[in-house]
């Protein structure tokens, strides 16, 4: 390289001599001459953003984020702070994983394609369904995509999408946005003791229902006991049976395919990501019969010229870049790198580690509930059900005030009603749980 490096972007490597030579080659006097922008819309002002050194920028971000309080999070409801092994960070951060694009040139992208194929395979094992895509954005958008799938595949007409009354607002609202361009309407069915009220659902469901959505575990940590019955009910009315779950719960709870589920959605980032302020990884698995209607990317197996196995994106004629307005979804950039992390985390646990993690989530939740239940003026868990990871606590005082006091003492928990709190054990150490029980006891006095 000749000459002095131009200042400006720290990542543009041009020297003054290079720039001059390149301008000469294209026959321009200055870089500005290359911009074909009419004077009326030429921007002559400044943004007012100061450039900083790398060191200053790191300091700025650190200083800003240090305003966050350091709390022990006993928070769940779809996002869990499981410990992610260092192995995952170090391997996923290898720059070929991090800095590559979608695998449109499969011959130079084999590693990522194989990792995504392994992620798909993991979901196939967990759900028992034959097809899993290699990611949606999060649980809410995956549910939205399931609804548009139902709209496409259902034999008869119909417009009702049934969801539990306990569905998280963010999920319900996202679902409503996804179906806004269709004739579908989202309706709720009641729950009883924080699980599906099957009798009420039986009265609600009819031939107009295209999709019946159930979560296991529920948002309150309870485990559904009548999944197969609900499946039969949905199928009797030709509705798609969609289950919301996650890889940790699925490693222990009933296998979706065994209870008649047609589509599994949910957040797979419970493995592989810390609680990243709501960032997710949409899980999407379904039956082979819906393969041509699946949204998102699919990695498949093929062979190369030496007859060896090789991986490639496949069935792309479903996708927006080929099918445009007739595509099964508008998704393009997805959550590939998170899927990679999830697969790595699952692989590092292995099936024994994963099943143990889920079992511990059951026993630790039960143990914590029993300890809290011993306190005066407290009932835990509120629901007379089996729980995993989390449960609802009834208190005889305003719940918000208790949560505020706990926050002062370094613990974050959910307020889910006037006198109801929700507590989650996932990712919280035994010592932290002891300290929490102590703080909770003090707050109640």
């Amino acid at each position: 390289m000749n000459g002095t490096r131009t200042t400006g972007s720290p990542y543009a490597p041009h020297t003054d001599d290079d720039t001059a030579a390149m301008l000469e080659a294209v026959g321009a006097d200055s870089v500005d001459d290359l911009f074909d922008i009419p004077p009326a819309v030429w921007f002559d002002d400044e943004f007012g953003i100061d450039a900083r050194s790398e060191r200053e920028t790191r300091h700025l971000v650190r200083q800003t984020l240090e305003r966050n309080d350091d709390l022990v999070e006993l928070l769940g409801r779809g996002h869990y702070g499981y410990y992610v092994p260092s192995l995952v960070d170090h391997l996923a951060d290898r720059s070929e994983f991090l800095t590559s694009y979608t695998q449109y040139q499969p011959e130079v992208s084999q590693g990522f394609l194989q990792a995504l194929f392994e992620y798909q395979s993991l979901l196939v094992e967990l759900t028992g369904l034959e097809v899993a895509n290699c990611s949606m954005y999060d649980a809410a958008t995956a549910l939205g995509e399931a609804a548009t799938l139902a709209d496409r595949v259902r034999d008869t007409s119909g417009h009702r999408v049934l969801v539990p009354d306990l569905l998280l607002e963010g999920r319900r609202s996202t679902l409503e946005n996804y179906v806004a361009g269709t004739d579908l309407e989202v309706e709720t069915y009641p729950t009883d003791d924080s699980t599906v009220d099957v009798e009420a659902l039986t009265d609600t469901i009819d031939e107009e229902v295209v999709l019946c959505y159930v979560e296991n575990p529920t948002v309150r940590g309870t485990i559904e006991e009548r999944l197969a019955e609900i499946g039969d009910l949905a199928h009797e009315h030709d509705a798609l049976y969609v289950l919301g779950s996650d890889p940790v719960a699925l490693s222990l709870l009933q296998r979706p395919v065994d209870v008649g589920v047609d589509v599994v959605v949910g957040d797979a980032s419970v493995l592989g990501l810390p609680t990243s302020y709501g960032m997710g990884l949409g899980l999407f698995a379904t039956r082979e019969s819906y393969l041509r209607q699946v949204p998102g990317r699919l990695v498949g197996v093929s062979e190369d010229t030496t007859d060896r196995r090789a991986f490639t994106l496949t069935l792309q004629t479903r996708e927006q870049h080929i099918r445009r307005e007739r595509a099964t979804s508008n998704i393009c950039t997805n959550q590939a790198w998170v899927a990679l992390r999830t697969a790595m985390h699952a692989a590092s646990l292995g099936p024994s580690g994963l099943v143990d993690l889920a079992k511990r989530d059951v026993t630790r939740a039960e143990d914590l509930a029993a300890r809290i239940d011993d306190l005066v003026g407290v009932t835990a868990p509120v629901n007379d059900r089996h729980h995993i990871r989390e449960f609802v606590v009834q208190v005889d005082q305003p719940a918000q005030a208790i949560a505020d006091d706990l926050e002062e003492r370094g613990f974050a928990i959910h307020v889910v009603g006037e006198q109801e709190l929700q507590v989650c054990v996932a990712g919280v150490s035994d010592e932290q749980l002891d300290a929490f029980v102590e703080a909770f006891t003090e707050v109640l006095r």
């Binding site: 290079d18 294209v26 971000v61 309080d69 590693g111 958008t141 409503e176 990317r297 059951v362």
Partner: protein
């Protein structure tokens, strides 16, 4: 000849090709080989082929049998084995750190490394249900990023919630719908999209429930104003446009286009995929766009991660701000109250805009990506952003003049679309892999036959651009046989795409089923 026989022959040709390429490469003082690992007749084995364990879930279960699955089976490997598996896989991937990656319309820039470290800070890991008071740092960073983006785009309000560009488009379309509906404009059921637009535009408009009206280009590759006039009506909800367009051409008549769309009561949507070409030189808001999305994983160099996560923040003019998704972040000035030693006494809170369309994501989108985008913009500042667009445009024009293929239309901004002429663009792309560079986007937009859509970005030096140009020239000079045999130096040889689609095998379980089926037959 059977498929297998044909492939066997191609395999031998591939080996010969490798040798030939090696000789040529050595003559030119350059050679490239991607790592590959072969074991028991396969490339790097699947985890499931190394070691698997079946766990009986019923053992020691704290739950009754009828609530649990019977068993779970998948790979169980030691940490060193996993480290090697994934390291090998990573070596069979071409990333932006491996070499130039001029994928047109995808804006593959170098990703600064320090942004990974700032996003990995422990404080970056917070639960979305934390109280606003306990995560002031997170909210402040989001607020400041909203502000940066609003300034860069010339917009009045920004939401950071959409987790990708296409998700941003969807927010734009939903906001447009809500706005029209709010005004009692129920008859607007069409969205106009130029034929050269990204596929996501069409799919997004359809997902929003609109009929898509495709707009042809004029002879110069830009919006045909007469066709636009004919397409516009009181049924028009919006026109989705990117500027510069996917041919790399600036829509010079943008002010007129905006006026025409607004005259019929429609909204003008800006697809931010090509914003890198404009940084500091023109702003969508000033051009008359009402709503836009930003691809932070393109313009602001946050890593693509092999296909995501990205983030697609959306900016709007004041009139549309009440319809943005919830929650949004705003500042609440408080009197005389200071948190620690912070000079900034602002307090931040979440709120729901008055006529919000609600959520488009379970919570607040891809937070870790937003942290990286913030750090990138803060690092570059005005000076760096302005220089990025300058060098991106200089690089595109320089490379276009050097490649030895015909480049119709012009003048170009950040990208150009060459034509491979009589050659198959996909073959050209595979051939270019042999020269150690990533090829351009191929066969799109369809306006240019056998399109080679190329975007070098600002991060490539003249030397690298010359290497890229040489790869184009070598591909251009390649015989049909050479094109048909490529790629020769990649981890695997040319892949049979048809067989993958005709006989979908999408998991290791499906692979086992196929294999056992073959065994029994």
């Amino acid at each position: 000849m059977s498929d297998q026989g044909r492939r066997g022959e191609q395999g031998r040709e591939r080996e010969q090709g490798r040798e030939r390429e090696q000789e040529q490469g050595e003559r030119q003082g350059r050679r490239y080989d991607q790592a590959r690992y072969v074991s028991n007749g396969h490339y790097e084995p699947l985890l499931s082929e190394k070691d698997s364990t079946r766990v009986d879930v019923g053992d020691d279960s704290p739950l009754p049998d009828d609530l649990t699955r019977d068993s779970l089976e998948f790979p169980e490997l030691s940490e060193p084995e996993l480290a090697r598996h994934y390291t090998r896989l990573s070596q069979m991937i071409y990333g932006i750190d491996s070499g130039p990656y001029p994928l047109g319309s995808c804006t593959m820039k170098y990703n600064p490394k320090f942004t990974e470290d700032v996003a990995a800070l422990d404080t970056a890991a917070v639960h979305p249900d934390r109280s606003a008071g306990s995560i002031q740092g997170t909210l402040e960073l989001l607020y400041r990023l909203q502000d940066y983006l609003a300034r860069i785009g010339g917009m009045d309000a920004v939401t950071l919630q959409p987790p990708a560009g296409a998700a941003g488009e969807f927010v734009g379309i939903r906001v447009a719908s809500a706005y029209h509906e709010h005004n009692g404009d129920d008859q607007r059921d069409e969205v106009i999209v130029p034929e050269s637009a990204h596929g996501t535009n069409f799919a997004t408009a359809a997902l929003g429930g609109y009929d898509v009206v495709t707009l042809p280009s004029d002879d110069g590759g830009r919006v045909d104003l007469e066709a636009l006039e004919a397409a516009l009506s009181e049924r028009t909800a919006a026109l989705m446009l990117t500027n510069p367009n996917t041919l790399g051409l600036f829509e010079r008549n943008i002010t007129e286009i905006a006026e025409m769309v607004h005259d019929v009561g429609g909204l003008l949507y800006y697809d931010g995929a090509n914003l890198n070409a404009l940084l500091g030189r023109a702003r969508p808001g000033d051009m008359g766009f009402d709503v836009m999305h930003y691809n932070v994983h393109k313009t602001f160099a946050t890593p693509h991660g092999g296909g995501g996560p990205g983030a697609g923040p959306v900016g709007v003019v004041d009139e549309l701000a009440p319809f943005l998704p919830e929650p949004r972040v705003r500042v609440r000035e408080c009197e005389g109250e200071s948190r620690g030693e912070e000079k900034d006494e602002s307090e931040y809170e979440l709120f729901t805009p008055e006529h919000s369309i609600g959520h488009v994501h379970g919570f607040q989108g891809n937070w870790l990506v937003l942290v990286k985008a913030f750090a990138y913009i803060a690092r570059l500042g005005d000076e760096g952003l302005l220089d990025a667009s300058a060098k991106a445009v200089l690089n595109a024009n320089y490379l276009a003049s050097q490649i030895g293929y015909e480049v119709p239309y012009g003048p170009f901004h950040h990208e150009f679309v060459a034509s491979a002429g009589d050659q198959d663009a996909a073959d050209v792309a595979r051939r270019m892999l042999d020269f150690g560079v990533h090829p351009p986007t191929t066969k799109w937009p369809e306006i240019v036959p056998q399109a080679l859509m190329t975007e070098p970005t600002e991060v490539e030096s003249k030397e690298t651009l010359d290497t890229l140009a040489e790869a184009f020239q070598q591909a251009s000079a390649s015989s049909d046989d050479e094109l048909g045999a490529a790629p020769n130096r990649t981890a695997v040889g040319r892949i049979d795409q048809t067989s993958a689609a005709r006989n979908p095998r999408l998991s290791w379980q499906a692979l086992q089923d196929t294999n056992s089926g073959e065994d029994s037959a």
